[in-house]
Symmetry: D2
Subunit: 129 residues, 4 copies
């Protein structure tokens, strides 16, 4: 089963080209990842409070087509362990009415402690269970 | 000579981890690219008015370290023609006080007309002159 | 009947204080207004395409309490004609789990044509029907 | 002497109407206030780290005209003590090339401690010195 989060484009997310601004896709992907974490009982904000920060170290995004005002879409999330300290999220943005792929992305993250050193909190192990 | 734009982190760009949110780097990179276009006498907003849209088709970003409230930094831009219809921007985000590389990125773009078809306006040729 | 739109706080909307940034409430209010317009069959983006722009001329916002990561809430919208060319939106942000009022606002708008002159498109009359 | 911060509109701040989105003025005003605080040796982010939060309780904004792509402008800040626990910021957004007033605003704030109770840190007294 692939994890999905539903969205609808909000007008303020569109730029002077009349389409969703490129940076906003990062917001969509992040929100979908955090909902996925919550689903796995991992609380991003609570971890941040404890100074354990999940951070992105690399993103690759392929923009296939542009979302427009009012478009409904969903974001898919799949997680995969890359190494002891790295995990990758495979994400797709799909427009609802025609199931068109708008963007696909791979976002690689790790977990760091207060001093910015790699640190895999056991809570994060749940990501792959 | 490498084109550079100066920035300073604004508090509202920081998220609950107390660091600049990942999506905001995309804003920084975009603003630097548009300043670079302006320097080459290419007006992104005016082209959009004419329904000629410069669009990003791929981005690769490597996050090396996190910008924090008040940090001063600059963004470098170098453009390279990839094919008849594609151009790549090589971009770096450098923190000023210690010249530390915070992020490097390759952003690939193209130019499309009103119907979303590839169309290289002659104005854009200036990018490589 | 009061028009309502459901929302959930997204982590990227929170700032370094760990709460939703003040500017984001403007986004929430705007999105709720545009959904209200759509419900009244007024298409903000399509009007903008025709160079008829609905613009805000004044906002008053009272911040009562702060939304936090994961909070679910809704935004209420009521519209009232203020004069021939002005309309006011009375808006409230209400946290779901305890029905607490987080923010109330009055946003006054008008409609302008291509040259920025007041112009009340008949489509907008629907707002008060 | 009135405190001023220089800005230039960035294209990503513009929405599908081709003008700066209303919510973005709140970002501009906030950044100018925080620069003003820094000038008075008050560190907003450091206070937030100590769980002392400067919060906005009311904003009134009058939108006079719209900033457009590439516009240069500055934001003025004047602070005034309203009561023992409240302070008001009088702010103006002025377009540079013709000194046109684009927006004026009054933003009222207070300071709260970890439990959200009013608490005026002595550092904040500097605001009025």
């Amino acid at each position: 089963m692939t994890f999905k989060v539903d969205f609808k484009v909000r007008d303020y997310e569109c730029d002077l080209q009349g389409i969703v601004n490129n940076s906003v896709y990062f917001n969509y992907l992040e929100h979908a990842r955090h909902e996925f974490l919550a689903y796995k009982d991992i609380d991003f904000a609570a971890l941040a409070e404890q100074k354990i920060n999940l951070v992105v170290i690399r993103s690759e995004m392929n923009y296939k087509d542009s979302l427009r005002p009012g478009d409904e879409f969903y974001v898919e999330v799949e997680a995969q362990k890359e190494s002891k300290l790295r995990f990758a999220f495979y994400q797709k943005v799909i427009r609802k009415h025609d199931q068109k792929l708008m963007l696909d992305a791979v976002v690689t993250g790790t977990s760091v402690n207060e001093r910015g050193r790699p640190f895999l909190h056991q809570e994060i192990e749940r990501l792959f269970s």
